[in-house]
Symmetry: C2
Subunit: 363 residues, 2 copies
C-alpha cells in the first residue's frame, strides 16, 4: 500500500531554460532573448532555440520570472460579495481588458466581511499582485497595514472611498434624482425607501439624491418610509413584510429599492401578499441587472453600464502600470429605464380626507 504523504504535491521536474540552452547549443541568455526579444537574435539561432523549446516542452517558470522582473502580471480584484448578480458583468468587463493586456485576475471575495481583508492586504504587500481594483466601499487594511501603502496602483470602481483614490462609478445621487423625477412626475406623494448597507458610499449617495430630489419637489423627507437593507434579495423580502404590515391606506404608493435584487425580492413578496404592482404600488430598482427584464412586472430601474465600468477600471489600472500615472476619476451618468413596475398612483379615498390629489388613472 502506498503511504499517503503529507508533503506538497510533487510536480515532475519540468524543462528549464538550461535544458533548452544545452539542447540548442547556446547560452541561457540567448534562449531568454530568443523568446523575449527575438530581434536581438540571429535567424538561425532563433530557429534552433525554438526547436529546442518545442522538443523539450519548455514553459518559462513564472515564479522565477516574477522574482527577477519584480512584477507578477496579476491584478487583485476585491469584490464585496461574489454572489451578487450585479458584479458578474462588471467582472466580465475587467476580464476583457486584463486578459487582452496579458494580466491575470485574482479574485478576492470579501463575502461582506471586513475580517477577510487583511489576507489580501498582505498579498499586495508581498508583491503577489501588480495592482488592485476595489469594488468594496472601503480601503482594505489589517495587521497594521493599509492597502494604499502597498506601493501598487489602486482604482475603485462602482463605488468611491472618499479619499484621493481614483474611482470609476455612476453618479448615485443623480440616479436617485432621475427616480424622483419619474415618480413625482407620475403623481406619487408617498414614498418608501429600501436602503443599502449602513455606511456604504453608494447608499449614502443614493439616499442623498433621493432626499434632495424629494425636498426640491416640496416633499417632507421625514415622512419617507425607510427600511434598512443590504442589497440582497432577502433584504428586499424583509422590507416587503414591513410594507405589508402597514394598513393599505398607510402604505406608500411608490417604493425605491436601491438595488435590483432588493427590488425584485420586495416586488415578488408584496405581490404574494395581494398587492398589485404597479396598480397599488410602483417599484423602482437600481443597477439594471439582466433579470430585471424578466420578472413580472418588468422592473423600472437605473441602468448602470456595468461591463463598461469594469473595462474602464481595468484600463485605468493598466495605464497606471505602464505610464506610472495616477488613475483618473470618472463619474458616469446612468439613465432610468422605465418598465412596467411603475405607474401613476391609485386614486383612493384617504382616511384624512385629502381630496386635492389630481385624479389620474393608470394606463
Amino acid at each position: 500500500v502506498k503511504k499517503a504523504r503529507s508533503a506538497v504535491h510533487a510536480r515532475p521536474r519540468a524543462a528549464t531554460i538550461h535544458d533548452v540552452a544545452k539542447r540548442a547549443g547556446v547560452s541561457t541568455a540567448t534562449v531568454s532573448r530568443a523568446l523575449a526579444t527575438p530581434d536581438l537574435v540571429s535567424d538561425s539561432t532563433r530557429g534552433r532555440v525554438l526547436a529546442a523549446v518545442k522538443a523539450t516542452g519548455y514553459t518559462p517558470n513564472v515564479a522565477a520570472r516574477n522574482l527577477r522582473a519584480r512584477r507578477s502580471m496579476m491584478v487583485l480584484v476585491m469584490v464585496p460579495s461574489i454572489t451578487n448578480a450585479f458584479f458578474a458583468e462588471v467582472l466580465r468587463g475587467i476580464d476583457d481588458e486584463l486578459v487582452a493586456s496579458g494580466y491575470g485576475i485574482m479574485i478576492a471575495n470579501l463575502d461582506n466581511k471586513a475580517e477577510r481583508e487583511p489576507r489580501y492586504v498582505e498579498l499586495a504587500f508581498a508583491g503577489q499582485v501588480d495592482a488592485v481594483l476595489l469594488m468594496s466601499g472601503r480601503i482594505p487594511q489589517g495587521n497594521g497595514k493599509v492597502m494604499t501603502e502597498a506601493g501598487v496602483p489602486i482604482a475603485t470602481i462602482c463605488v468611491s472611498v472618499g479619499t484621493g483614490l481614483a474611482s470609476i462609478m455612476v453618479d448615485d445621487s443623480a440616479g436617485s434624482r432621475h427616480v424622483v423625477d419619474h415618480l413625482v412626475g407620475l403623481g406619487h406623494k408617498s414614498f418608501g425607501y429600501v436602503s443599502g448597507p449602513q455606511g456604504n458610499q453608494n447608499e449614502v449617495g443614493r439616499w442623498q439624491g433621493f432626499c434632495d430630489g424629494l425636498e426640491a419637489a416640496g416633499f417632507d423627507t421625514g415622512k419617507i418610509h425607510y427600511w434598512p437593507g443590504d442589497f440582497s434579495i432577502p433584504a428586499g423580502v424583509e422590507a416587503a413584510y414591513a410594507f405589508l404590515a402597514l394598513s393599505p391606506a398607510a402604505r406608500p404608493t411608490a417604493v425605491y429599492a436601491v438595488s435590483d435584487t432588493m427590488a425584485i425580492g420586495f416586488m415578488k413578496t408584496v405581490i404574494e401578499g395581494g398587492v398589485r404592482v404597479p396598480d397599488d404600488v410602483s417599484i423602482v430598482g437600481f443597477d439594471g441587472i439582466e433579470f430585471a427584464e424578466f420578472v413580472t412586472p418588468t422592473l423600472t430601474t437605473i441602468q448602470q453600464p456595468r461591463r463598461q465600468i469594469g473595462r474602464m477600471g481595468a484600463r485605468t489600472l493598466i495605464k497606471a502600470l505602464n505610464e506610472q500615472s495616477k488613475p483618473q476619476s470618472i463619474l458616469l451618468d446612468a439613465p432610468l429605464i422605465v418598465r412596467d413596475s411603475t405607474a401613476p398612483p391609485p386614486v383612493r379615498e384617504n382616511a384624512r380626507g385629502r381630496s386635492r390629489s389630481p385624479v389620474r388613472v393608470a394606463g
Copy 2:
C-alpha cells in the same frame, strides 16, 4: 512636465528578509524559521525577530517563496462564462474552502470561447498554479499542450469530461427523469425541450435522461419539439419565439429548458405572447438559481447544490495536494423543486379529435 515612462510601475523597494535579519541581529535563516516554524526558535530570538518584522514592515516576497518552494498556493478555476448566474454560488463554495486552506483563487473566464484556453494551459505548465478546477466541459489545450499533462491535480465540477478525471457533479440524467416523472404524472402528453450547447456533457446527460424517461413512459421521443440553446437567457427567448410561431393546438403542453436562465427567458417571452403559464404550458428549468423563486410564476426546477459542489471540488483538490492522492468522482442526486410553473395540461379539443385524454383541471 514629467515624462511618462513606458516602463513598468516601479514599486518602492520593500524590506527583505535581510533587513529584518540585520535589525534583529540574526541570520536570514533564523528569520525564516521564526516566521514559518516558530517552535524551532528560542523565545527571545523570536521576540527580537518579530519586533524587527514589525519595525521594518516586512512581508515575505511571494515570488521568491514560490520559486524556492516550487508551489504557488494558487488554484486556477476555469469557468465557461462568468456572467452565468449558475456559477456565482459555486464560486463562493470554492472560495470558502480555498481561502480556509490558504490558497488564492485565479479565475479563468473562458467566455465560451475555446481560443481562450491556451493561455491558461500555459499558466499551469509555467507553475503559476498548483491545481486546476474545471467547470468547462472539455479538457483545456493549446500550443500542443494539454492541461492534463501539466503535472498538477485537476478536478472537474458541475460537469464531466469523459476521460479519467475526477468529477463532482449532479446526475443530469436522473434529474431529467425526475422532470419526466413530474410532467407525465401531471398528465402531459406533448413535450418541448430547450437544449444546452451542442456537445456539452451536461446537455448530453439531460437529453438522454429526458428521452429515456419519456420512452419508458411510452412516448415517442421523435415527437419532442426540440429547440437548440446554450444555457443563456437569449436562447430561452429564441426558443419561445419558435414556440409562439406554432399554432396553439400544435404547441407542446410542457417545456423542459435545461437551465433556469433559458427557462426564465422562455417563460417571460411566451407570457408576453399571450400564453398562460402554467395553464396553457408548464415549464421546468434546471439548476435552481436564486432568481427562479422570484419570477412569475415561480419556476419548477432541478435544484443543484451549487455551493456544496464548489466546496467539495475545492476540498478534493486540497486533499490531492496534501496527500498526493487522486481526486475521487462523486455523483450527486439533485431533487426537483415543484413550484408554480407546472400544472396539469389544459383540457382542449384536439384538431385530430383525440378525446381519450383524462379530464383534469389545474388548481
